[in-house]
């Protein structure tokens, strides 16, 4: 029982960060219908931003989010204006090649600039834990990350539901042409969506930095997770990505506890295939939405 609760709680906390990475990718897909293969590398940039803010400016990684989010938003916004919008009406393979290329440029530039030595971000609370009654331990940095993720997701939902820009984003996501006919500047919406997606990726990177190691290729393992989460939750569905992230986090933790940590990827992907067989549109996706 203790093991079960420990796995459930650590899995949920880790899943929260996965969810944030997945939400950013899902939003971009929803609004722009583009699979962003550079998403993992954008996370990696977030990790380095947090690392340098901490080592050079002595700003706590969680506080540095205040700087990282606008910087990453701007970076994503410009990246969309300069590169991505040129392929928005092109076939998927062109879009995929472009984002893979951008990702490779980012990760290899990081390799040259920061070398392949993994950097470790050690804060005063890096390996401390909350000791719950019954002998369950919750990692302090993970709990903080999880709370920040919840906060960001809530703000993002409010933004999407209540503001006019948010509604315009959702309208673009539902039907690009119709939105354009209604007078929405869809090009601007794409840039905003990509900016938000980038900000969320960088935030996820910065949140995971204090509990992980920072490496130019660190984003790659999260890219696959973000994809799985998006498809599992339903491509383009923000709520789906949130739930998908939590599911993957918990399933990973449970399978390490009850089977073997060696097998956790197998369990995750078997579950993933099962969901796709029964609900090809994903858990929260609408049928035939993305045609």
């Amino acid at each position: 029982m203790l093991l079960f609760l420990q796995a459930l709680l650590s899995g949920t906390l880790t899943g929260g960060v996965y969810a944030l990475a997945g939400i950013g990718m899902s939003l971009v897909f929803g609004v722009m219908n583009i699979s962003n293969f550079a998403h993992g590398d954008l996370m990696m940039l977030g990790m380095y931003l947090a690392y340098f803010a901490f080592t050079l400016l002595h700003i706590d990684p969680y506080v540095s989010l205040v700087m990282i989010m606008p910087t990453a938003f701007l970076f994503g916004f410009l990246m969309e204006k300069v590169f991505i919008n040129r392929v928005i009406h092109h076939p998927h393979q062109n879009q995929i090649l472009l984002t893979i290329g951008l990702g490779l440029i980012m990760s290899n530039t990081a390799l040259l600039a920061f070398t392949s030595d993994p950097k470790i971000l050690t804060t005063s609370y890096s390996s401390s834990a909350f000791n719950l009654p019954g002998g369950i331990f919750l990692s302090v940095p993970l709990v903080i990350s999880f709370l920040i993720t919840c906060g960001i997701t809530a703000i993002l939902s409010l933004f999407l539901l209540k503001t006019s820009t948010g509604m315009a984003l959702r309208a673009t996501s539902q039907n690009r042409e119709a939105a354009q006919l209604m007078g929405i500047n869809v090009a601007k919406m794409s840039a905003i969506a990509f900016g938000i997606g980038t900000a969320l990726a960088a935030t996820a990177g910065a949140l995971i930095a204090p509990t992980y190691y920072i490496h130019p290729l660190a984003g790659h393992s999260f890219l696959l997770k973000a994809f799985t989460i998006c498809v599992l939750g339903g491509l383009g569905s923000v709520a789906g990505a949130g739930v998908g992230g939590l599911i993957i986090g918990v399933v990973e933790a449970m399978s390490s506890t009850y089977i073997s940590s060696d097998w956790k990827d197998v369990v995750v992907f078997v579950l993933f295939l099962a969901v796709l067989l029964l609900r090809p549109q994903g858990l929260f996706g609408k049928k035939g939405e993305q045609s």
Binding site: L3, Q6, V17, S126, F137, A218, E252, M254, S256
Partner: protein
């Protein structure tokens, strides 16, 4: 004009073979310069480079052809084949990882070009009777046996294993299990993990629930730091953490004093060991590269030194094989001789060292004849 050009070409053609015959001995070096193992690979690169410099200072010229395997056995094999067929090297040092070295070793007898493995630990590499495969470092079974010998006087009863699902991890744990059985230890947990994951807490919680006396760990690089952080988080506190090489023997790990203190690890080399030139090597390395050398750097240095010294007197692959087989050396890795014993062929019976971290510094604690400090047992947070 045309005539001049022709005569120039003719002169060049005539001169080239002369140059070639006077050329320095050609040696290949396969290493993981990129990829997952790049950080440790850099230590090998630096160690080998220092050996080449030292030899040059003594007037021994060498033409070193470097190849990157990216930690992938497929690339390592391609690199070896390129080195022996296209570059015409007479000996090869490398590759770093066990997976790569094992694959390359299987082809060395086919091409009859000696391979000197500096730091790969998988036993199999020198257990197949290959004539052209030599290994400087001690194989994986010694990692676990020396660690267990060091803690044996304290009579631990139970052991748990936490290790990376790699060639090195699996083979080290396999021999550790054999050594543990000999010591009468009971295995209470066995957690194999995939590298690079952010969350090992569930596996560690399982280990904690089993309450072992010893926790035996095999991890590369930063995974070691991640695992120990999460072990501290969930309150895993056995009587001893035994780290078998790799990630537990880096300066980066030791510097994380909050989690690294009192962790015991096995290593091929330390800078406070009394082998000739070891301390001096560490000083020069630190001055040159601005960081502490890992044992990999020392292994690469000594392997490169032995390879070039032998090759420069023998000049051909066949004679090099005989030279390596017959020679004895004594340098920063202690006495070296490639011998056949206990199922191994051309294996240097290298005595491994046990070190314990004390306030961010590695201190040799076992065997007694090489160490100044005593082991601290049991482990305390």
């Amino acid at each position: 004009m045309k005539k001049k050009l022709v005569s120039l070409v003719a002169v060049a053609l005539l001169a080239f073979p002369l140059l070639a015959s006077a050329a320095p001995v050609k040696i290949g070096f396969i290493n993981s310069i990129t990829g997952k193992e790049a950080q440790i690979g850099e230590n090998l690169t630096n160690g080998a480079a220092m050996a080449i410099e030292d030899l040059k200072a003594k007037g021994i010229q060498v033409d070193l052809v470097k190849e990157d395997d990216g930690g992938d056995p497929k690339n390592a094999l391609a690199a070896y084949e390129k080195l022996v067929t296209r570059d015409g090297v007479i000996g090869v040092v490398g590759p770093y990882t066990s997976g790569c070295a094992n694959v390359v070793a299987s082809r060395a007898d086919q091409y009859k070009v000696p391979l000197l493995v500096p730091a790969a630990a998988k036993e199999e590499i020198t257990m197949k009777g290959y004539k052209n495969v030599f290994r400087l470092n001690a194989p994986a079974n010694v990692y676990s046996s020396v660690l267990m010998k060091a803690v044996a006087p304290y009579k631990p009863k139970t052991i748990a294993y936490v290790y990376a699902a790699t060639d090195f991890g699996v083979s080290t744990v396999k021999t550790a299990q054999e050594n543990a059985a000999k010591m009468g230890l009971t295995e209470v947990a066995n957690e194999k993990y995939q590298q690079g994951q952010p969350d090992y807490r569930s596996s560690l919680a399982k280990v904690k629930a089993a309450n072992p006396d010893l926790v035996f760990l095999v991890s590369y690089d930063a995974d070691a730091i991640l695992l120990m952080r999460q072990a501290k988080e969930i309150g895993l506190s056995p009587k001893a953490f035994l780290g078998a090489g790799a990630g537990y023997t880096t300066a980066q790990f030791a510097q994380q004093t909050e989690i690294s203190n009192l962790v015991i690890s096995a290593t091929q080399w330390t800078d406070d060991v009394n082998w000739p030139g070891a301390a001096n090597f560490a000083l020069r390395y630190k001055a040159k590269y601005g960081k502490e050398p890992s044992y990999h750097a020392a292994c690469a240095y000594e392997a490169m030194r032995i390879m070039v010294l032998t090759a420069s007197t023998t000049k051909s692959a066949v004679k090099l094989q005989a030279g390596l087989k017959a020679g004895v050396w004594n340098g920063i890795m202690g006495p070296v001789k490639f011998a056949d014993y206990g199922g191994f062929t051309n294996q240097n019976n290298h005595p491994m060292l046990v070190q314990q971290i004390s306030n961010g510094k590695y201190e040799t604690v076992y065997p007694a004849q090489f160490s100044k400090k005593k082991l601290i047992y049991p482990f305390k947070r």
